[in-house]
C-alpha cells in the first residue's frame, strides 16, 4: 500500500459530489479498512484537514479503522427482528463464538446492524456479503 496506490484509488472521486464519502468507500473496498496513513492523503486530495477526515470516518458505521475479520456476521438488532427473536439469536451466537457484539477479532466478528430491509422475514443476518432471512444458529451452519 504505497502512497501512489492510495492516491490512484481516490483520484477518480476527487471532483464528484460527496467525493470524500466515495473515496472512503473505495478505500474500504480496496484495503478492508481505513488505515491511519490514508487520512492525510484523503485530506490532501480533498483539501480539508486531517481532523475533518477523521471526523467523517468516525461518523459513519461503514468506515472501519481496524482490519476486517475473516468472517463478519452482522445481526440485525432493530425492532422487527426483535419481535421474532433477534435478542435470543444474538446471545446464542455470542455464546457459540465466545465473543460479544462489536468486539474486533481477526477470525469471527459479530456486528450489530440496524435493519437490512428483511423485516418481514427476520431475524435478518448477513455473513460477509451473504444475506440470510429467518436466521437461526442452525441455518448459519454453526454447531448449536
Amino acid at each position: 500500500m504505497t502512497e501512489d496506490d492510495i492516491r490512484t484509488q481516490i483520484a477518480p472521486h476527487q471532483h464528484k459530489l460527496g467525493g470524500t464519502i466515495h473515496a472512503l468507500h473505495q478505500l474500504m473496498r480496496a484495503y478492508g479498512y481505513i488505515h491511519p496513513e490514508h487520512l492525510p492523503i484523503v485530506a490532501d486530495v480533498f483539501n480539508i484537514s486531517v481532523a475533518e477526515v477523521r471526523g467523517i470516518v468516525s461518523f459513519y458505521e461503514d468506515f472501519k479503522t481496524h482490519p476486517p475479520a475473516r468472517t463478519t456476521i452482522r445481526i440485525c438488532q432493530a425492532e422487527a427482528c426483535q419481535a421474532v427473536g433477534s435478542r435470543v439469536l444474538t446471545e446464542e451466537l455470542e455464546t457459540i463464538f465466545g465473543t460479544k457484539l462489536g468486539i474486533p477479532r481477526s477470525d469471527i466478528e459479530l456486528e450489530a446492524v440496524y435493519c437490512l430491509g428483511l423485516c418481514a422475514s427476520g431475524p435478518a443476518v448477513q455473513v460477509n456479503d451473504r444475506l440470510i432471512a429467518k436466521a437461526s444458529a442452525e441455518k448459519l451452519q454453526v454447531p448449536g
Partner: protein, 503 residues
C-alpha cells in the same frame, strides 16, 4: 423451453433464490429474475409460464424445487401441490390491493425498459399545469412527515437560482420498512420516471438518489437501470427527444440512520459528517450546495406517474382527504403474512394485521404494534380499529411515518422496547444538540434501573422530565420524537414497567 420467474429481491435471495434459480436453469428452464410481488412469506415465489398462465409456487427452497422439477412442474401446472398458489394476481393478498406505485412489480425483469408514455405526455405539458395536478391529487410526502408535495414543488420552481436539484431519499432506515427497497430492486424505472417528471416540472436538471449502503442488491440493480435509462434517453440530454436535459446519479450512504433526515442527508451528500442543519432555510429554497432542492422519498416520486395517468381528482378521491391516494404499508415483525400492501388511506390497522397479515407468526396473542419506525408509537389491541389516515393517527398520538407496522406477540416486554428507543437515539444521534445526545443516554440508564426493579417513583419522574425536554428542545425529530415510543409504551402497558418496583 419453459420460462420461469425467480425474484432477485433481497428477501428471496436471503431465502436461497439464487440456488433455486441455478437448479431451474440446469433443468432447462429459461429463468427470468423478476422483482418481488411483495408477499414476503412466500419468497422465493417461483412462477412458471404454462401456456398463457403463470402459475406460482412458494415458498420454494433448493430442496423443494428439485421435487417440483421431478414432478414435472415445468411442463404442466401442479395445482394439487401444497406449494402451488395458482396465478399470483388472483391471490387475495394481491387482488384486493390498489397498486399504483407497485403496479408493475414482479411482472418482469426490473431492467426491461417500460412503456414511457406517462413521461412523454408530461414533457408536452406546461410545468405549472403539472404542479397543479400534484396539488389537486393531495399527494403528501411518503418519507414520514406527510408534508404536501406541491408546496415544495412550487417553491423550487419559483425560487430563482443558477441550478436546482432533486434529491431522492432512499435511506429507508426505519425498522419494519422495505417499500423503497422493493421498488428499487423490482421496478427502478418507476422511480426514474417520477424523478424525470418532477425535474421537468420544477426546472431541476440534476437528480441524486441517496441510497443506504445496507441495500447492496438495490444498489446493483439501480446502477444498471441508470445505464439503461441513459441508453434509452429517459435521462441525459434531450430526454425522450424533448429539449429537457436531466442527469441522474446514485450516491451510496455509509451507515448512519440520521442521514435519512433531509438536512443531514444533504450534508452527507456534500461529503461531510451527517450533522443536522438548522432550518430555515428549507431545502426547497436552499438545499444541496445551497441551491433550491426538492427532497422526496422514493415512494413520493414514484407516485407521480400514476397521478398523471389517473388525474389529480381520481387519485385524491382514492383516500380519505386530506390523506389522499394510496399508501404502501409494510407488515413486519411477528406476522404470519408479512409484505407490502398498497391500498388507499383509510384502511384500519385491524384489516392490515388480521386481514392481510393473518395475525402473529408465532400463533400467540397479539400484544402491540409499532407504527412509523423507531420513532413511532406502540399501540394496543384496543386501537386496532383506527383507520390509517394522518388525522386519525394523530388523534391517538401516533403517525404513519413511512408506513411500516411492526407486530409483537404477548412475549414482548414494552419496558425493554422503551429502553431500546433511548438506546437507538443514543447510537444514531448526530450529536449536535444536548437534549438528544445526553438525554438519550440518561433515558437508557434510567430505563435500565426500572427494568432491573431498582427504581422508585423518582426514576419515573426523570423519564417524564427527559421526554419533556427532548420533545421541546431537540433540534430535529430524532431527539424530538424519541419520547413517542417511550411514552406510548408507558401509557399503554404500565404493568410492564412496574414489575418489582419498590414504589
Amino acid at each position: 423451453m419453459t420460462t420461469v420467474y425467480v425474484p432477485l429481491d433481497s428477501v428471496a435471495v436471503a431465502m436461497d433464490a439464487n440456488a433455486v434459480a441455478e437448479q431451474l436453469t440446469k433443468a432447462g428452464a429459461v429463468v427470468i429474475r423478476n422483482g418481488s410481488h411483495g408477499l414476503a412469506w412466500l419468497e422465493p415465489l417461483v412462477e412458471v409460464e404454462n401456456g398463457s398462465e403463470r402459475i406460482a409456487y412458494g415458498p420454494v427452497s433448493p430442496t423443494t424445487v428439485a421435487d417440483l422439477i421431478a414432478n414435472g412442474f415445468l411442463h404442466r401446472p401442479l395445482i394439487e401441490h401444497p406449494l402451488c398458489r395458482g396465478p399470483i394476481g388472483s391471490h387475495d393478498f394481491l387482488q384486493t390491493q390498489t397498486r399504483l406505485v407497485f403496479d408493475r412489480i414482479g411482472r418482469d425483469s426490473p431492467l426491461r425498459i417500460p412503456d414511457l408514455a406517462d413521461v412523454l405526455q408530461a414533457l408536452t405539458m406546461p410545468p405549472d399545469d403539472l404542479i397543479e395536478i400534484i396539488e389537486t391529487s393531495g399527494l403528501r410526502g411518503r418519507g414520514g412527515a406527510g408534508f404536501p408535495a406541491h408546496i415544495k414543488w412550487r417553491t423550487v420552481r419559483q425560487t430563482d437560482a443558477p441550478r436546482k436539484y432533486l434529491v431522492c431519499n432512499a435511506d429507508e432506515g426505519d425498522s419494519g420498512t422495505f417499500a423503497d427497497r422493493l421498488l428499487l430492486e423490482g421496478d427502478p424505472f418507476r422511480l426514474i420516471e417520477g424523478m424525470v417528471i418532477a425535474g421537468y416540472a420544477t426546472g431541476a436538471h440534476h437528480g441524486v438518489v441517496y441510497l443506504r449502503s445496507e441495500y447492496p442488491i438495490a444498489e446493483t440493480i439501480f446502477k444498471q437501470a441508470l445505464e439503461i435509462a441513459y441508453e434509452h434517453h429517459l435521462i441525459g440530454p434531450n430526454v425522450l427527444g424533448s429539449d429537457f436535459d436531466f442527469d441522474l446519479e446514485l450516491f451510496v450512504g455509509a451507515g448512519a440512520y440520521i442521514c435519512g433526515e433531509e438536512t443531514s442527508l444533504l450534508e452527507s451528500l456534500e461529503g461531510r459528517r451527517g450533522q443536522i442543519r438548522v432550518k430555515p432555510p428549507v431545502p426547497a429554497i436552499s438545499g444541496l450546495l445551497s441551491m433550491p432542492t426538492l427532497v422526496h422519498n422514493v415512494i413520493s416520486f414514484a407516485s407521480v406517474p400514476a397521478i398523471l395517468r389517473l388525474g389529480g381528482e381520481v387519485y385524491r378521491d382514492l383516500g380519505v382527504a386530506p390523506s389522499s391516494g394510496t399508501m404502501s404499508f409494510q407488515l413486519a415483525g411477528n406476522i404470519k403474512h408479512g409484505g407490502l400492501i398498497e391500498v388507499p388511506f383509510g384502511i384500519t390497522l385491524r384489516d392490515l394485521v388480521e386481514g392481510y397479515g393473518q395475525g402473529t407468526l408465532s400463533g400467540r396473542p397479539f400484544k402491540t404494534l409499532q407504527i412509523g419506525g423507531p420513532l413511532g408509537a406502540y399501540l394496543s389491541r384496543g386501537e386496532l380499529d383506527t383507520p390509517l389516515t394522518y388525522e386519525a393517527m394523530a388523534d391517538i398520538g401516533a403517525g404513519i411515518g413511512h408506513g411500516g407496522l411492526v407486530i409483537f406477540d404477548d412475549t414482548a416486554d414494552l419496558a425493554e422496547q422503551a429502553r431500546y428507543a433511548f438506546e437507538f437515539c443514543e447510537l444514531e444521534s448526530c450529536g449536535k444538540c444536548t437534549p438528544c445526545r445526553i438525554g438519550s443516554v440518561r433515558g437508557k440508564e434510567t430505563m435500565e434501573d426500572i427494568i432491573s426493579g431498582r427504581a422508585s417513583d423518582q426514576e419515573f419522574n426523570i423519564i417524564d422530565d427527559l421526554c419533556e425536554v427532548m420533545d421541546r428542545t431537540s433540534l430535529c425529530q430524532m431527539g424530538g420524537m424519541t419520547p413517542i415510543p417511550v411514552r406510548s409504551a408507558m401509557e399503554r402497558f404500565p404493568e410492564d414497567f412496574r414489575q418489582g418496583t419498590r414504589a
